[in-house]
């Protein structure tokens, strides 16, 4: 099977206007996401993963600045400081929101919202309702939900409804931005399995953004680890999860409490830097236990093992 690129970025940087110029929160990201795979971006809050997700979904506000290239399904959406998502947003890429209770229109029933989207993209009035029912069936929601307002649904049901809505325009790429935070382990697993099944059934490309590392092993084919606006490690999920190379990834995995594990957790000293004061060179240097003099220069993301890239001088 030949892998085709669905998303391809070259030196993509994204920044926001603030009081003293431009604050670059995503720096020189080079990623390739293959078609019909699940690609996870993990990282702590403030590392730029949501901004990257917004760039993929075409939701960057106009006060955002861009640099580099981003291609989605063969369409160039970002070229230098120009962005053009016309015909891409909705038709090709949609997004699953973080908090479905604020992302569903509170003034319309689930059915109305689905029908509006289907009608806009496919314009078949009679079939729209039929299609909406199919979508609900796909995400395993009872059909009477079609007449419910969002506030009448439980948390898990809202998230399913939001997934149905994101599938309604029949996109090729779906960006899921932390869709499982605040759900319990069971519902988190359910939503992840649902997404995985939908991705397989509909041949979608799924970009899954999360800080929940445990979840990624369930659904991901590829994993990218972000730290302070850069991707520090990327590769096939089994390799990254079981044999992490970057010191940050290694420490991060050790800091997660595991079920039944009672030993004292190891911690990463210090706290993540803010975009206003990224350290020079390797951005993990001030917190890194194994850093050396090379680290004052910025490392590049290089393939050190097959399908496993890392940006660290120790492997250069």
């Amino acid at each position: 099977m030949v892998l085709e690129a669905s998303i391809k970025s070259t030196d993509l940087s994204i920044g926001y206007e603030y009081d003293y110029g431009i604050l670059w929160v995503v720096n020189s990201v080079n990623i390739v996401v293959w078609r019909n795979t699940t690609y996870c971006i993990i990282g702590e809050s403030g590392c730029g993963k949501s901004t990257l997700g917004n760039a993929l979904a075409g939701l960057l506000p106009t006060y955002a600045y861009t640099n580099g290239y981003l291609e989605i399904e063969g369409r160039t959406v970002v070229r230098g400081d120009e962005t053009n998502y016309n015909g891409v947003r909705g038709r090709i890429v949609t997004r699953i929101p973080q908090d479905p209770s604020s992302a569903l229109n509170p003034y319309a029933t689930i059915g109305e919202q689905l029908v509006k989207v289907i009608e806009h993209h496919y314009g078949v009035r009679e079939n729209a309702l039929e299609k909406a029912r199919e979508l609900l069936k796909l995400v395993k929601l009872p059909l009477e939900v079609i007449d419910y307002y969002p506030h009448e649904l439980s948390g898990g049901m809202k998230q399913r409804a939001a997934i149905a809505l994101a599938l309604a325009p029949m996109p090729k790429v779906i960006v899921a931005d932390e869709p499982t935070s605040n759900l319990d382990a069971y519902l988190r697993g359910v939503v992840a399995s649902l997404l995985k099944r939908v991705q397989r059934e509909l041949n979608l490309t799924l970009v899954f953004i999360t800080h929940d590392i445990a979840l990624t092993s369930v659904i991901c084919d590829y994993i990218a680890v972000m730290y302070a606006g850069t991707i520090v490690e990327e590769g096939v999920s089994s390799k990254v999860l079981h044999n992490p190379l970057h010191p940050y990834t290694q420490l991060l995995f050790k800091a997660i409490p595991k079920l039944g594990y009672r030993e004292t957790l190891s911690t990463i000293p210090g706290s993540p830097p803010s975009p206003t004061s990224y350290p020079e060179g390797c951005r993990f240097r001030p917190r890194c236990p194994v850093g050396f003099s090379e680290c004052y220069k910025a490392p590049k993301l290089i393939e050190v093992k097959p399908q496993h890239k890392v940006s660290c001088w120790r492997y250069a």
Binding site: T94, S102, A103, N105, P106, K116, V117
Partner: protein, 339 residues
């Protein structure tokens, strides 16, 4: 299972309670007012039979009763539309006030028919282009508009239109006054009902300048409220979601963001409407139109307290009614209403 009073019922009960509260204040007002109402009622009698006539009037008015009975009678009369006789005009206060109120209402309705679309248009576009020069211009304009005294602008307009020989003084030309048959009380409607286009045009020309002067405040205020609340609504997550689904701009702005704002905008407009009543009275006075304003200006020097209170109670009732309607509509539209 607990029984809850329906929201609509509760809102109506509350507004009746507020009107009752206002009637208490008016009672206090009339009670405190200088002069003896019985003396006035008896027609300011003089001579040997005066004290007898006053005593009779006192019984007729129930002034010989204890104070709580008097108050009860007052409330009863208040709600049955018996608001006494005007001292200055020697007519029923109720019919006098109602006739003049129709004129004020007509002016207000015309001015809001002008200001609602303009205000909404300005507010929506200001918020869509916020941070830009258009936004700054619209915002400054709405601040200037809502902070100019309406009666003063009215005065300037009166002067301007009159020097251009456009008749704007008064509500209707004297020639037509006898010819118009009053049915609804709103001359614009009455003239059309009668099929007299010439009267309609005359009334329209005379109503436009004061209505324009009056609409300055609501235009500015509606534009500002719309701008602020729409800017907030456009930040909401479900609007972003609609954008991410590829829905077109108009659907997102009007169908998603603005739809949720309708109740609160209605409430705000209701508030501006009742605030504009006092302005309407002042503008009316400037343009020499009959109405509550002119009534008030004539009634106060004559110490015509029943008339003054009645005219002002109308203002309060309009406030309560518009707010109640806006609240109820809000509850009807918004599925999220909780109690």
């Amino acid at each position: 299972m607990g029984i809850t009073l329906n929201y609509v019922v509760r809102r109506i009960v509350l507004s009746i309670a507020i009107i009752l509260g206002i009637s208490i204040i008016t009672y206090v007002f009339i009670y405190l007012a200088p002069g003896d109402p019985a003396y006035v009622w008896a027609g300011r009698p003089r001579g040997p039979l005066a004290s007898e006539a006053i005593a009779r009037a006192r019984v007729e008015l129930g002034l010989d009763q204890p104070i709580y009975v008097q108050f009860f009678l007052h409330v009863l009369r208040f709600f049955s539309g018996n608001w006494g006789l005007s001292i200055r005009f020697k007519q029923s206060v109720f019919s006098l006030v109602m006739r003049n109120f129709a004129s004020t209402l007509e002016l207000l309705l015309v001015s809001f028919a002008i200001s609602i679309p303009i205000g909404l248009f300005l507010g929506i576009h200001s918020s869509l282009y916020r941070g830009s020069k258009i936004d700054a211009a619209i915002n400054s304009l709405s601040i200037v508009l809502s902070n100019t005294p309406r009666f003063w602008i009215g005065l300037a307009m009166l002067l301007a239109f009159t020097s251009l020989n456009i008749p704007t003084y008064g509500r209707i030309s004297d020639n037509f006054r006898g010819e118009l048959v009053e049915r609804v009380g709103l001359y614009l409607v009455d003239s059309l009902l009668q099929g007299r286009l010439d009267i309609f045009l005359d009334v329209l020309i005379r109503i436009i300048p004061p209505a324009l002067a009056l609409s300055l405040y609501p235009i500015g205020a509606i534009a500002r409220v719309t701008r602020i609340s729409l800017s907030e609504a456009l930040q909401e997550e479900f609007v972003r979601e609609a954008v991410s689904l590829g829905l077109p701009r108009n659907t997102v702005v009007y169908g998603y963001a603005l739809r949720g704002l309708i109740p609160s905008l209605m409430q705000a407009i209701g508030l501006f409407f009742s605030y504009s009543l006092i302005d309407a009275m002042a503008v009316e006075y400037v343009f020499g139109r009959e109405g509550l304003g002119n009534l008030l200006v004539k009634a106060i020097p004559a110490s015509d307290f029943p008339l003054v209170t009645a005219a002002l109670i109308i203002v309060a009732i309009v406030y309560v009614v518009t707010n109640t309607i806006a609240d109820i509509v809000q509850a009807l539209i918004n599925p999220r209403v909780t109690m």
